[in-house]
């Protein structure tokens, strides 16, 4: 299944709970303030990298660009546009937004 996180990993607990709950083989899409987790040098980058063993991680490029963080995207994270977001939703049977 597809997990969607839209919250900053240092402000809220959404990413932590998502990572602890998501089952291997799923996908994680970071959008809105959630994209900060996918930036190099961020305190949450280590745990996101560790999660890549079990989850495929994506981040919404327009949200990274809006925040001036596109060039800092973390290695191993696949950047997608809104079309890619749509594909992720249709490719997975269910999606869960960790608000």
């Amino acid at each position: 299944m597809l997990h969607i996180v839209n919250k900053s990993p240092l402000e809220r607990n959404s990413l932590d709970t998502c990572l602890a709950t998501a089952q291997p083989g799923g996908a994680l899409l970071l959008i809105e303030d959630g994209v900060y987790a996918a930036t190099a040098g961020h305190a949450a980058a280590g745990k996101l990298s560790a999660a890549m063993d079990k989850l495929k991680v994506y981040a919404l490029k327009p949200d990274l660009e809006a925040r001036g963080m596109a060039e800092r995207a973390l290695e191993g994270v696949t950047l997608v546009d809104y079309g890619g977001f749509v594909d992720l939703v249709t490719e997975h049977a269910t999606c869960q937004s960790w608000l």
Partner: protein, 119 residues
């Protein structure tokens, strides 16, 4: 594919409704059908015709109405949430309709996917 969308936050304050709009537009461009957008919680505030953003800013309400009109999207505003927050037929923008929570459950049953945007 038939996709339904749930929006839980109001316009401008949270990015949720922007993300939902750009997602819906992209889905349509990819040939999918966006069957219904359900506005719940503060999301009902996306439907007031009185919204007047600065000239150089996007008009979130009109943008939804236009997309809905062009692509036959059912834009449903939850009646219980709307009454609590001062949204009635009196200030409802054209293109939206006020109805019950059953429309959200029905959207979940009938659509292939339900995607939630909120805070």
């Amino acid at each position: 594919m038939k996709i339904a969308i749930l929006i839980n936050e109001g316009p401008y304050t949270h990015e949720a409704t922007d993300s939902a709009y750009l997602f819906a537009r992209a889905a349509i461009e990819k040939g999918h059908q966006v069957s219904r957008v359900f506005f719940y919680h503060d999301g009902v505030n996306n439907s007031t015709r009185l919204t007047e953003p600065p000239q150089d800013d996007r008009h979130i309400v009109n943008r939804w109405a236009r997309l809905g009109d062009e692509h036959k999207i059912d834009l449903v505003v939850c009646v219980a949430a709307a009454l609590r927050r001062g949204i009635k037929d009196e200030n409802l923008a054209p293109g939206f309709r006020i109805s019950g929570l059953g429309q959200l459950v029905e959207a979940g049953i009938q659509a292939d996917r339900l995607v939630t945007f909120g805070d």
